[in-house]
Each structure stands twice: as structure tokens, then as C-alpha cells.
Amino acid sequence: MLYSDKVIDHFTNPRNVGEIENADGVGEIGNAKCGDIMRMYLKIDDGIITDAKFKTFGCGAAIATSSMATELIKGNSVEDALKLTNKAVVEALDGLPPVKIHCSVLAEDAVKSALSDYYTKQGIDPVPIVGEIKEPEE
């Protein structure tokens, strides 16, 4: 199981670690039994993600994908963030071992989950915009 240098870098020096107080959107995905929990905090001003932070319990890939996902959406519009795919996260990390692909799915879902929370807080039903977010299977 081989991690790219990018994964190792984003694991050892994760970007955007921490919490955002009074975040505009917070999402959590995963569970401890599976070995991965990601929580994502977003600060959104005028439809632009001005800050993103995460807290993650999980393997190196879980932490690296969290880090990369926050990097990819920071400074972008909510619309662009909605288009974030797990594939984009994997590519930005120069690949992930097959057994770790699910971590990138978690990262995508954590972003979506935070955006759902953002829409809900705005009084907008998130489902037509963000879609249903499935919890990972145990």
C-alpha cells in the first residue's frame, strides 16, 4: 500500500487543522467503528468559502484527504465546492492506494455535509442542491 509524497506531506503537515467558531456550516461523516471520522467547518461570506477547517480521526489517507479537500474549496464559491469530487481529491494527492479510496469519498461527503448544514442554517432545503449523503457502510 503506497502513499504518494503528496499524501505523506498532507498527512505530516495537514493544512487547515482545527475548528471555526461560529462556523456557517459544519458537517461530520464516518464513525469510529469504521476507523474514520471527519468533521468539517466552513466560513462562508457572500457565497464564497473564506475559511475551511477540519478535525479528523483516521488513518493517514483520511487526514491527508481532509487536508486536501479543505485546500481545494477554500477561496472558492459554494457552487464550485459542490462540484468537488472524490476523484479530484485523489488526483490532487497524486493518487491513493485502492484500499484508501473510500477516504476520499469521506472527504467529499464531509464537504457536502458541511454545505448541507450551511443551506439548512439559511433555511434552504439542502437535499435538492446537495443530494442525500449516505453514511459509509460498516
Binding site: F11, T12, C34, G35, M38, K55, T56, F57, A62, I63
Partner: protein, 394 residues
């Protein structure tokens, strides 16, 4: 704090020792003959294999005729279990007793046999990671072909009551195999005295090359081949002998079984220091019995963080360690051994195994005791799970 390089994963594999490599080297480019060949270059190789076989036999208290070289511990386990299964099936015995926390080389073999119509009983372990011989006794039936219980566990290092189990097997007339891959070179073994019928070992755990193993089979037990072909290994294991690796294994087992007691004392002291150091971290626990344990094994669960992330961060500090067994580090399931101990999935995910040897210095130990808490603190600082643990405790 100056960065060090500390290899603390000797249970996964070991470096080939200088002694072993020096013994092996001539057999690559100069003494390369086939031991089955009649000319001197071949005969010298045959003699080298004989000498190595004698060394292995001596280290185990066995007869050289009972020593069969294989390609690894896994092959030895497979051969022993499938071999006895096939042998005894002919006598209508198709039941095997093993334990829940064996290495996958055993467990996946018994699972395979279950699919082929064999019946397998998995004896439990207690919360200290030990098997109760009484449980083995109760599990044995009239149609039991084999009991296979590991000598020492690869993850939590607990040493099992092998002699008691062997005695029970003898009384019941059942063959007894032990996977001693983790035990050889660390505890004193005498197969004849201890009543062991079959024993597996692997070279790369004791500073020989990867890809060489041994199956000891007590005289009189004639299991069928796993690998058929040429007349090597008295016709019981085909394939041109891996002479350099065999020669190296001979040297390695001789070195490893020298001064086991003295080495063991030294390692145990330093191990205990590390255990005590790491256990100062809140929400940690030692897995496996503290005393009935391999001298070099440390296995600690650390709540709130995940094992692989600990390892990667330790690696950035120059410490090589493991979480569960190396072979399954690609897998997502928490260790079956830790689950068998009764740990929850959450806690089992966050385990750290350090397996040390007598080359580990006091300074190394201090470094480990300094680095591990740092790494743990860092990972807990952004773990949503840790947050919950702390909040629940308040």
C-alpha cells in the same frame, strides 16, 4: 531532541545480520551449485545444507531428519495443517482445534479447510491474551485430527502454555502443531521435551533472509507434500534448495538461541521502562499479559486516535512501529487479535506495537518515551473522537 532512527518493528521483520550475510555471500556467485548435482560444486552445497539442518535441529532439540526447509512461516503453517488434515481425514478425523487469535497463515488455512468440509473449533483467549489449556481439552473430540495453537502471539506477544497443551494432546492422542514464528530465538524451545509434534518457524524474524522457513515434523508422522516434485528434503518438499538462505538460517538460529535468558532479561527491563513511560499517557492500556509475554513486545491501545496515523507520524520522527500485524496493515478491519481480547472497534483501531531487541539503547528508549506522547497529543488535538472521550469523562 535530536532525531534518531529506531527500528522497533522486529516482529514484522528483521534486518539480515552481518554474520548471516557473510555466511550467505559465497553461495550467490561462487558456491552456486545445485545440491543435487554430483560434482564437487554441488556436493559442497549439499554439505552446507546438511550443516544448516544440523544447526536448526540443535536449536530446537530435534533430530536433523525432522527438519524440513520451506519458503516461509506461512508455507510451514499451511503444510502442517493441510498435511495433517489430509493424513487424518483418511482415518475419519476431520476436526481441528485452534484459537481465535492465530496468525492469518493459520486462520485462513482453517477457514479454507472448513469450506472443504472440515470442522474447526476456535478456542477463545482471556482478557490477558492467554489460552486456557482446559478450553483446548474441552474442544478435543473423538474425531479431532489436530490441535494448532501459536507459541507466542505476533501482536500482543503473549506466550501460551504450550507444554500443558502438548500434554493434553498427547493424552488424547491428537497431533499438536505450534506456530512458533514469533517465539523462536526469544524463548527456550525443546520440541522433544515439550511434546511438540509439528512446529513452524520463519527465518526473517530472526535476522535470516525473508523467504526461508522450517517445518519440524516429529519422526513417524508422514504428512503428504504441499509441494510435489523433485527429491529435495527427502522427497517431502520439492524445489531446488535455497542454499544461501538455508545457510543463513543456520547461522541466524544459532545466534538467536545463544544466551536467550540473558538477552531476555536485558530486553524485558528496557521494555518495561517503555511500557511504563507510554502508559503515563491518559486513556491508554497495555494489551496482553505483562509477564507471560515476549521480552521485546509492547502493545498499547491509545484512545481517540487511529493506529496508522500514529505510525506515520512516528515514522517522521524516525521510529518504525506497527499497529496490528504488518500483513494486514493494508486492510481496514481492526486487528482480530485485539477484538478477541475484548476491545471495542474504536479502541482496537488505535493500537501501537513496538517490538524491540537487545540493540535498543537506553537513549533510544528515552527517545521513544518522549516522542510517543507528542505524537499522541498532536493527533488527539484534531481528533473529533478524542473530544467526545474527554467530554464524556468530564
Amino acid at each position: 531532541m535530536k532525531k534518531r532512527f529506531i527500528y522497533a518493528d522486529n516482529a514484522a521483520t528483521t534486518a539480515v545480520s552481518e554474520n548471516v550475510l557473510n555466511a550467505m555471500l559465497p553461495y550467490f556467485r561462487y558456491e552456486y551449485g545445485n545440491p543435487s548435482s554430483i560434482y564437487k560444486l554441488g556436493r559442497d552445497n549439499e554439505q552446507a545444507v546438511i550443516d544448516a539442518r544440523n544447526k536448526v535441529a540443535k536449536a530446537l532439540g530435534a533430530d536433523p531428519k525432522e527438519i524440513f526447509f520451506t519458503s516461509c512461516g506461512s508455507e510451514s503453517d499451511n503444510w502442517a495443517i493441510k498435511g495433517v488434515a489430509e493424513l487424518m481425514a483418511a482415518k475419519g478425523k476431520k476436526h481441528i482445534v485452534t484459537s481465535v487469535f492465530e496468525h492469518h497463515a493459520v486462520l485462513h488455512t482453517t477457514e479454507y479447510l472448513q469450506k472443504k468440509g472440515y470442522d474447526v473449533t476456535y478456542v477463545p483467549i482471556n482478557e490477558k491474551g492467554l489460552i486456557d489449556p482446559e478450553d483446548v481439552k474441552k474442544a478435543i473430540r473423538d474425531d479431532t485430527a489436530l490441535v494448532t495453537i501459536m507459541y507466542a502471539n505476533n501482536e500482543i506477544g503473549t506466550i501460551q502454555p504450550i507444554e500443558e497443551i502438548a500434554k493434553i494432546c498427547k493424552e488424547k492422542g491428537v497431533l499438536f502443531h505450534t506456530d512458533a514464528v514469533q517465539a523462536v530465538g526469544h524463548v527456550n524451545i525443546d520440541v522433544h521435551k515439550q511434546g511438540i509434534d509439528l512446529l513452524s518457524l520463519s527465518g526473517h524474524k530472526i535476522h535470516a533472509q525473508k523467504g526461508i522457513g522450517v517445518l519440524y515434523v516429529r519422526k513417524g508422522i508422514n504428512i503428504p507434500n504441499l509441494i510435489h516434485g523433485g527429491g529435495q528434503e527427502k522427497g517431502k518438499r520439492a524445489g531446488t534448495e535455497n542454499v544461501p538462505a538455508i545457510v543463513g538460517l543456520g547461522v541466524a538460529i544459532e545466534d538467536a538461541t545463544k544466551n536467550i535468558d540473558e538477552k531476555g532479561k536485558k530486553i524485558t527491563a528496557i521494555r518495561n521502562k517503555i511500557i511504563d513511560g507510554i502508559l503515563k499517557i491518559p486513556y491508554t492500556r497495555l494489551n496482553g499479559d505483562r509477564d507471560k509475554r515476549l521480552p521485546g513486545n509492547i502493545n498499547i491501545s491509545i484512545e481517540g486516535i487511529e493506529g496508522e496515523s500514529i505510525l506515520l507520524l512516528l515514522d517522521s520522527y524516525g521510529i518504525c512501529a506497527s499497529s496490528g500485524s504488518a500483513c494486514t496493515s493494508g486492510s481496514l478491519d481492526p486487528s482480530h487479535v485485539l477484538l478477541a481480547l475484548g476491545l471495542t472497534h474504536e479502541v482496537a483501531h488505535g493500537s501501537l506495537r513496538l517490538s524491540i531487541e537487545d540493540d535498543l539503547t537506553e537513549d533510544d528508549a528515552d527517545y521513544i518515551i518522549e516522542v510517543v506522547p507528542k505524537v499522541v497529543e498532536r493527533l488527539r488535538s484534531f481528533s473529533p473522537l478524542w473530544e467526545g472521550i474527554i467530554n464524556n469523562a468530564v
